[in-house]
Symmetry: C2
Subunit: 598 residues, 2 copies
Amino acid sequence: MTNKDARTPASTQNPTETSVNGEAGKSIGWHKAYIEGSRPDLRVPVRQVHLTNGQSVTLYDTSGPYTDPLVDTDVRRGLPPLRENWIVARGDTEEYAGRPVRPEDDGIKHTSPRGGLRNLDAVFPGRPRQPRRGRDGKAVTQLAYARRGEITPEMEYVAIRENVSPEVVREEIAAGRAVLPANVNHPEIEPMIIGKRFLVKVNANIGNSAVTSSIEEEVEKMTWATRWGADTVMDLSTGRNIHTTREWVLRNSPVPIGTVPLYQALEKVDGRAEELTWEIYKDTVIEQAEQGVDYMTVHAGVRLAYVPLTANRKTGIVSRGGSIMAAWCLAHHKESFLYENFEELCEILAAYDVTYSLGDGLRPGSIADANDEAQFAELRTLGELNRIAKRFNVQTMIEGPGHVPMHKIKENIDLQQEICDEAPFYTLGPLTTDVAPAYDHITSGIGAAMIAWWGTAMLCYVTPKEHLGLPNRDDVKTGVITYKIAAHAADLAKGHPGAQEWDDALSDARFEFRWEDQFNLALDPDTAREFHDETLPAEPAKTAHFCSMCGPKFCSMKISQDIRREHGGSRTEIEEGMAQKSKEFAAAGNRVYLPIAD
Amino acid sequence: MTNKDARTPASTQNPTETSVNGEAGKSIGWHKAYIEGSRPDLRVPVRQVHLTNGQSVTLYDTSGPYTDPLVDTDVRRGLPPLRENWIVARGDTEEYAGRPVRPEDDGIKHTSPRGGLRNLDAVFPGRPRQPRRGRDGKAVTQLAYARRGEITPEMEYVAIRENVSPEVVREEIAAGRAVLPANVNHPEIEPMIIGKRFLVKVNANIGNSAVTSSIEEEVEKMTWATRWGADTVMDLSTGRNIHTTREWVLRNSPVPIGTVPLYQALEKVDGRAEELTWEIYKDTVIEQAEQGVDYMTVHAGVRLAYVPLTANRKTGIVSRGGSIMAAWCLAHHKESFLYENFEELCEILAAYDVTYSLGDGLRPGSIADANDEAQFAELRTLGELNRIAKRFNVQTMIEGPGHVPMHKIKENIDLQQEICDEAPFYTLGPLTTDVAPAYDHITSGIGAAMIAWWGTAMLCYVTPKEHLGLPNRDDVKTGVITYKIAAHAADLAKGHPGAQEWDDALSDARFEFRWEDQFNLALDPDTAREFHDETLPAEPAKTAHFCSMCGPKFCSMKISQDIRREHGGSRTEIEEGMAQKSKEFAAAGNRVYLPIAD
């Protein structure tokens, strides 16, 4: 993968300084800055790390306005609708009354007394809002715009974020090789792009459980995940308050939000898969599209005929959506209603610019089941559905496994790219072994790094609690950090422009014993600092290092190199020079471990 | 990589039962068992996991006698000398007085009053012992035996451990593609083998620090590391009590112990690299060989001419041994004394069967420096030294990097295998990015899994404290577990015989909701159980699973498969059968999430 059209890295652009504590450029550490685009309302946030040597490094920033001290955020009001003017200015959408919000959207029965008393106006207390959709059934998608040659503000925004030209962004979207998930009803997002030509992205799953989580906790989990680098968040809430939770998450999220509408649809039929209908599902999709969900996992590839293919598997069907659809197909002995109504679904998604994430309901749940007939049969159907979606101008990505041993990973991405016309691949891991529950962020981080190097565009994180329970705050952080490592390792291996600058800056800091810079540049500055202070609280100077041996002024390595340059590389002269330097080395104390002045 | 000569997996062999709490075969969980070889004193330990369905799974066990309740261990006495009779019976070694232990071996100056008072007989209180070496300068190495066609008890032992034939073991050692590190003065070890044809191994580093660790703590760290799966342990102690600490570690270690003799030699010259001499180094090697060190890292590839090649590096020389040797070369402007005296060193190592671990003193310390001229120049020298070592019948492995981005990893193993005649590669990670201090077990676990898949025989672990401080007990465990994951993922990808049985057993348990079996089969049962209980303390039944949908008796998937078999696959008949099953499915309640009886 080359990046010939790459623009200069962000670090050479000129971000507007937004200071921490009001003193621009003075704070040691880092602060939020913005790179302005072609219009004043197009300001791309970056994390600007200030080094003690006076230099600075500009890093991609997913944390949203929450890390800008000049922005006054309030979860009850929601984030400012950054993209609203851009959407309105295009003139191809209309506001409308929208589908009425019903008690059962929040899992409350009509018949229950509590349901009857519920005040639906209180779903979200922020600014009043009517849903918006494409006028006259038009596709108002970034794909439609890209195909007709338009560079939208959203495309320019991600071009600045990715250090590529806007034209590259437009081309990749037009070709279906990238998606820019941006529902017209989610104007709060800071646009981002998912495609193999760009930085590898990370998704974090959140979702309330009936018992333990409150709505505020879910909003907090979302901002926590994005603080550590999550590029998108999927809200997989079930049970009560599912509609209201999603509303709060959407209104406060600076990143695209994904969902699996099937989960909510199933709640509406009390968990009885066989009672699902196309009408209930469609209604749920519209409900969520009106709220602003940016991408939806749709398990339309689980066809009746594929279910028996899973019979000899070690772990059957492990995807929740896949098992629901398989149960429906078996109960009715009919073809999947998602598959049968796929074109109508495309029309709906196109009217809001909801991006498809075509789910792999038959993904392998164990090493033994990887790359089997069921998995690849479904993948071929996803390829077929991808082409249909593109006819309707719906942006589309394809979900991937799961549990796959290392030697079978490449076949997954290669086949997906071939079958799905290079549509972005969005994989869960894959986990490279089944034997380490409690460490599946690591078993899967290995597979994630590899598959991303080979072309996966977005990685769905796995936390240490995978297979065991619900992730808490620490697990979310560990999952995100592990996946940022996998993503960045892949960016390096792919030669993404500017990716290595980060490593270089950190390694320079390490070599020069600039500990504070090393911490501030770290993916997780807090833990790096804490670990260091635990054993070496006051004195970093003990650490041995060859170049510290001679001190910054008298580095034998550097000097020997200088000699080579000066003398054009003649060996005798080098040796004479080396002998001279050997004397100087002795004169300066001959010590391997000079204490570092720090 | 194929394994055509593989024997049946260990699980089909018949281990002798050694019960926990005296009740053989009754305990739920796991217990230590032994597989007996061709002689009664050849008993290979395994970890036998008992499943609730009555089956059992046999896993490789590195934990030594400490996990056998029938063995009474005492760190002051040391482990029983398992191999002593085998060594004596070969008749090619002799006991001798040995080099006197001197106060400076423990970092104590002659001139210091404390040194003068020191009672050297108290180094280790266990059974009295004289060192042993090859008679008449003979090479008493497993390589020498293998080359002349002998299958030693050690070879048979590892053949049982690895589920391969003893002849495969002999061949691999004879060809130099594997090493069996087993100093004649370390009879306590349970033999193990390092080679790409075998299970990927993991090394854990321990080592006291001047301030914080006691001798007992180091022994405890060693047993802790092997409990979680470390196959070898390197004692990298510095400062005071270095000799005594090593003695205690060796006498209590069931796994081979590696060292870097240069570290102790440097202590003997008060940290002044330029004062090192071949004589001091050689004396230190003999001191350690007499104690029983099984393999030694020797940085003989850091030649004077290569030092200037590191001048333009981002992070110069990061290997401690490499920087010491580079400093010596520069200070004297002479060729490395290790390189110059390599043949004599071979004679010494051959007399004790100490295995070479040829150190990569010029390994890259940052992504920017990976695969550079300095690194590969040294590798070519290691290839030359490997051939010399083989002439002297010294077993040899080659150390590798370091920091390497994913796309440059394969070149490392391919070049090493070519240049070093397929000698076992022993790599540190590699770390696939520099940006995540505090998570370098993960940045390196990714690289480790990949390079092991491609042929690395042993992985040196990296803990979360890498670059930041000294690992504590938790860090050691995290490092070992992470690397066992990498190693096992590689075993799977290489198709090692029996490797997938472990994953299959765990996935079966997962699919059937046998939680206890899932925990007991996990790499880290304790953490898996703890995580599960944290959120789902009483009720595992909530977890959705397709096959749980119908319960164990009525599985739609299984039934649809049965129909296919019965009717020879005719589509009409299948559909009729499916329709019938659809009715049965409805009759049974039509529920996706039936509560699991548990």
